[in-house]
Symmetry: C2
Subunit: 196 residues, 2 copies
């Protein structure tokens, strides 16, 4: 909305866009202070500014991607092209054949250089795009190198420490959620689920 030049928005309009009730939106936004003006609505620029600050997106975050396979390269491109608060500054891999490979923006460097890269580049966050078997070790390396948080795409249980929060994203879950939301075409045994 802001990029389209709109100046104001009502909770009613937001509710339609976000598929929430208008009351819900007002309650939520009121938590951040009195952002709206009665009879008028919310100032979009003001909302963006306040939310950006509350979500801590008013500062930049520098990231390193661990694992430069298909997923690692895809994530680098996905996050790297972003002109927002996030920028991928480096990618590492244990495979020597990948060293020096250009992935648009930077070249792949050895996993061993991780600590040095984090220090030199001022890296804040790590992204795990490694096989499940290497997830825990990679997380530990990132923490030892000094990152403040880690986003994990490996389907593995990783034990985290409080100094470096871990957020895991298992893409298969979304496929499972999707098939569960599918309209069921004549599935007779579903009656046992929806008991009262």
């Amino acid at each position: 909305m802001a990029s389209q030049g709109t100046e104001r928005v009502s909770s009613q309009q937001l509710s339609e866009r976000l598929d929430l009730s208008a009351a819900q939106i007002r309650k939520d936004l009121a938590q951040l202070g009195e952002l709206g003006i009665r009879g008028v609505g919310y100032d979009i620029a003001g909302l963006v500014e306040r939310l950006t600050k509350v979500l801590r997106l008013d500062q930049g975050y520098r990231m390193v991607v661990v694992g430069m396979g298909n997923l690692g390269r895809a994530l680098s491109a996905y996050f790297g092209f972003n002109h927002g608060a996030f920028v991928v500054v480096a990618g590492v891999d244990p495979d020597p054949e990948k060293f020096g490979l250009d992935v648009g923006g930077f070249t792949v460097r050895p996993l061993e250089d991780l600590a040095q890269i984090v220090r030199d580049e001022g890296v804040d966050l790590g992204v795990l795009a490694v096989p499940a078997s290497a997830a825990q070790e990679s997380y530990d390396r990132l923490v030892a190198a000094g990152v403040r948080g880690v986003l994990n795409f490996a389907p593995a249980q990783v034990q985290a420490v409080p100094q470096a929060p871990l957020k895991s994203v298992d893409l298969r879950i979304y496929l499972e959620e999707l098939v569960f939301s599918l309209p069921e075409d004549a599935e007779p045994d579903s009656s046992s689920i929806s008991t009262e």
Copy 2:
């Protein structure tokens, strides 16, 4: 657990693994019928079987990936290697330079062939790995071709029809959630959030 040969599990053990209360797990599982045995716990094989059925993962799902850029290829590999309920059977792209490109398992085909591919290959689901600007059109094409559901990775608002549910995954959200969970090192203006 099943692949490790464990036979039984208690709600207590599950609660530690899943970071939920034991009572919560019992309440949830009890919804699916009396799966456990008092004094013993839950039979893992039985749980897996019941959950697989309830989540509708007892049937296979064939998928086509639209957009064979970095992300499309990564997702194909990610989902395709999966020996579970999901398998990627084809990938399409509008760019003629990509036609015939081998991405492990299949070769990239023209976007125009989509309808035919869905018909011939018995495709159930579509995966959108296209730029945001092409998301809506790609969704419409998938629906016209006859898929039953779509998983969208483009950061765009896509209007869906009830016959083909849409699930959108915006990877940037997870970065934002991660930074929000970061321990705040001396942020003085956060006091206005946690009022009372």
